[in-house]
């Protein structure tokens, strides 16, 4: 924003320079009304086309049935569940940043928390699509929820699948509420600042008449902290419950107590990768170098490194447990089939992306290089997708009876739906960038005031 101030201050800070409240508001609110850049338009067009493709593929699936997908007994959980687990995992970094880092008072969270919460919402929306379609008859999806039906039956709550439905529904709802509460003061700012009357009216309605009076802040503050506190266990519980869908079965490769923490670490790894994939272009397109600084990139890269090691540890622990158990099916699955079986290439690709590629972040220079960060994040996203492929397809394709062994090959509908959700995710995300301020203005102004206060006292 202001070049002289940027030079005067440490560029390694979470905020470059000390722009005034006015400057920060103008810069960050204007992302909603500035003319759209060409990069944004091209991105929107591509994502729109992919979304249309998703619509076609989903329609086909609903019309013809999931026989159009590649999964079949014994690989009953093909792309549908891989994509579900992958997308929902991506959401976790958003909640991690917005809730856990808020409670830990990490300042580098502030500029990127709304952005990542948006990512969470849109990722969970993609995730929700898959179990729904995988039901085969999605119009009966409401059978998952307990309601007094005329059939006189109820969902079986001793099975892990209704837990999943409860966990994902709660996760989505709590994420929306947390996101909206954080937005209210910024919507009020837009109500007072947006250039056209129509926009002011629309933002005004969503701002609910927020005045920023001390009595409003009093309740708001506590509610926001409480929502953060409530969202925090969800970061751990949602993917833990997803992992129980696997761990509570006896299939070799699934029947393991390490699954909940292993899934959570993988979720945060893939989520931070997606944060970087989205934030690097957005920062460039909207010129937000002063609020999303090398410090933020550095912190996110360190999170990638840490979670990558937790994931690496889990891979080693899986191998060790299989060997130590002496169970011939586990030993075959973990030590023979995964690294040397038909799908061995996927195993080594996963190891390279999740455990080897991230090691560049030991170097400070690499942690701050947008190109390296972007490239490694793409690799990690691919690697984490293949981790779920490994868990689901590879395990299912080789179960106890060699006579039922099977090689899974995805169909063009599988691939089309995966590409379609990527496009739909992108479409929602690009729209989000233009509709609300994606850097929380109010929180950033407050953080700046606190920083100035501390500097004066020093």
């Amino acid at each position: 924003m202001s070049a002289p101030a940027a030079i005067a201050h440490d560029t390694d800070d979470v905020l470059v320079g000390r722009p005034s409240d006015t400057e920060l508001s103008d810069q960050l609110l204007s992302t909603t009304w500035r003319p759209m850049t060409r990069a944004w338009k091209i991105g929107f067009a591509i994502c729109g086309l992919l979304t249309l493709n998703l619509l076609v593929m989903v329609t086909l699936t609903v019309l013809r049935g999931i026989g159009l997908w590649g999964n079949n007994i014994p690989v009953a959980w093909g792309f549908g569940i891989i994509n579900f687990v992958w997308w929902i995992g991506i959401g976790h970094a958003g909640t991690f940043i917005s809730a856990i880092l808020l409670l830990l008072e990490q300042r580098w969270r502030t500029s990127i928390n709304r952005f990542t919460e948006g990512m969470t919402l849109f990722a969970v929306m993609q995730a929700g699509l898959f179990p729904l379609l995988h039901l085969g008859r999605p119009w009966f999806a409401y059978w998952l929820f307990p309601y007094p039906s005329v059939m006189d039956t109820w969902p079986q709550v001793r099975s892990a699948l209704p837990w999943d439905a409860a966990a994902v529904t709660t996760y989505f709802s709590v994420s929306v509420m947390f996101w909206y509460l954080g937005l209210v003061p910024d919507l009020a700012a837009l109500r007072d600042r947006a250039p056209s009357r129509t926009r002011r009216i629309i933002y005004g309605i969503f701002a609910l008449g927020w005045r920023g009076s001390v009595r409003q802040w009093r309740h708001y503050h506590v509610a926001y902290l409480l929502l953060a506190g409530l969202a925090t266990p969800l970061v751990l519980s949602v993917h833990s419950i997803v992992s129980l869908d696997f761990a509570s079965t006896i299939l070799p490769g699934w029947h393991s107590t390490i699954f909940p923490p292993f899934f959570v670490a993988g979720a945060i790894l893939s989520g931070f990768a997606m944060v970087l994939i989205l934030i690097l272009p957005a920062r460039r397109v909207f010129g937000l170098y002063n609020v999303i600084t090398p410090r933020h990139l550095d912190a996110a890269a360190k999170m990638l490194l840490i979670t990558s090691w937790i994931v690496a540890y889990s891979y080693i622990a899986e191998l060790f447990t299989a060997w130590y158990s002496g169970d011939r099916y586990e030993v075959y699955q973990q030590i023979v089939n995964r690294p040397f079986g038909w799908y061995a290439w996927a195993y080594w690709l996963m190891l390279f992306c999740n455990c080897v590629a991230t090691q560049v972040f030991w170097s400070r220079r690499m942690r701050r290089s947008p190109v390296v960060l972007f490239a490694v994040s793409v690799l990690v996203s691919i690697g984490m997708w293949f981790e779920r492929f490994e868990i689901i397809v590879v395990s299912l394709s080789r179960d106890f009876l060699p006579s039922s062994w099977y090689i899974f090959i995805p169909t063009w509908v599988d691939l089309g739906i995966l590409a379609g959700t990527l496009g739909f995710f992108g479409l929602l995300f690009l729209a989000f960038l233009r509709v609300v301020p994606f850097v929380p203005v109010t929180e950033l102004k407050q953080m700046r005031a606190e920083m100035v206060h501390e500097e004066v006292r020093r």
Partner: protein
């Protein structure tokens, strides 16, 4: 109290920063005024304490909602499995507490979060799309970069102060504290009419 303090302000002053606002409030409190409200673009450290606004009791609502949500979910699961639709699955007990926990936990979190959001909105006097203070010229910067203090009508100290000399004294005191503008809003005027404007303005 929330409504009363903000419904009809008689005196409002605008400041350019949080610390200046705190100085202005100290000046008003020095004249014995107590019915104060402040409007700020973000939370100003120390403001709540200065105005004597206590920590929100909203957490108790949230706790109650969490207990109700979790308890209700557990009871429902028990009733489904034990009373209304018992299914024998490998001889496992109908009342399986460990298997009921995930949904119990999720519903507790869901209800608590909904309660937190709704309470923050309702206790803050929202939704209320229009408020008299919105009619004040320049109040739209209260969400951007201006900090306002308001003295509500019916402040016990007002009748003693509110004459020509008293107004000048307070305006001067607020100006010394750094107020950009001090507005006396004539109580006789209807604050809900669009033509409602400050009757006296002291631009510094």
């Amino acid at each position: 109290m929330t409504r009363a303090a903000s419904a009809r302000p008689v005196l409002m002053a605008e400041f350019s920063s949080g610390p200046a606002l705190l100085d202005g409030i100290r000046a008003l409190a020095g004249s014995g005024m107590s019915r104060l409200d402040a409007f700020t673009p973000y939370e100003v450290a120390g403001l709540r304490q200065l105005l004597g606004v206590r920590r929100s009791w909203l957490s108790w609502i949230v706790l109650a909602a969490a207990l109700a949500g979790g308890g209700g979910a557990y009871l429902l699961q028990w009733w489904i499995n034990v009373v209304d639709y018992p299914l024998n699955i490998g001889g496992r007990p109908y009342h399986s507490a460990p298997a009921f926990l995930p949904i119990t936990f999720e519903m507790a979190v869901l209800c608590a979060s909904a309660a937190a959001l709704l309470s923050a909105i309702v206790l803050g006097g929202l939704p209320r799309l229009w408020d008299p203070v919105f009619e004040i010229d320049g109040f739209d910067r209260a969400t951007i970069d201006r900090f306002w203090v308001a003295v509500g009508a019916g402040d016990a100290a007002l009748p003693a102060i509110d004459d020509a000399q008293g107004r000048i004294d307070i305006t001067t005191a607020l100006g010394a504290a750094g107020a950009l503008r001090v507005l006396w809003l004539d109580a006789a005027d209807r604050p809900d009419r669009p033509g409602w404007r400050d009757t006296r303005e002291d631009a510094r």
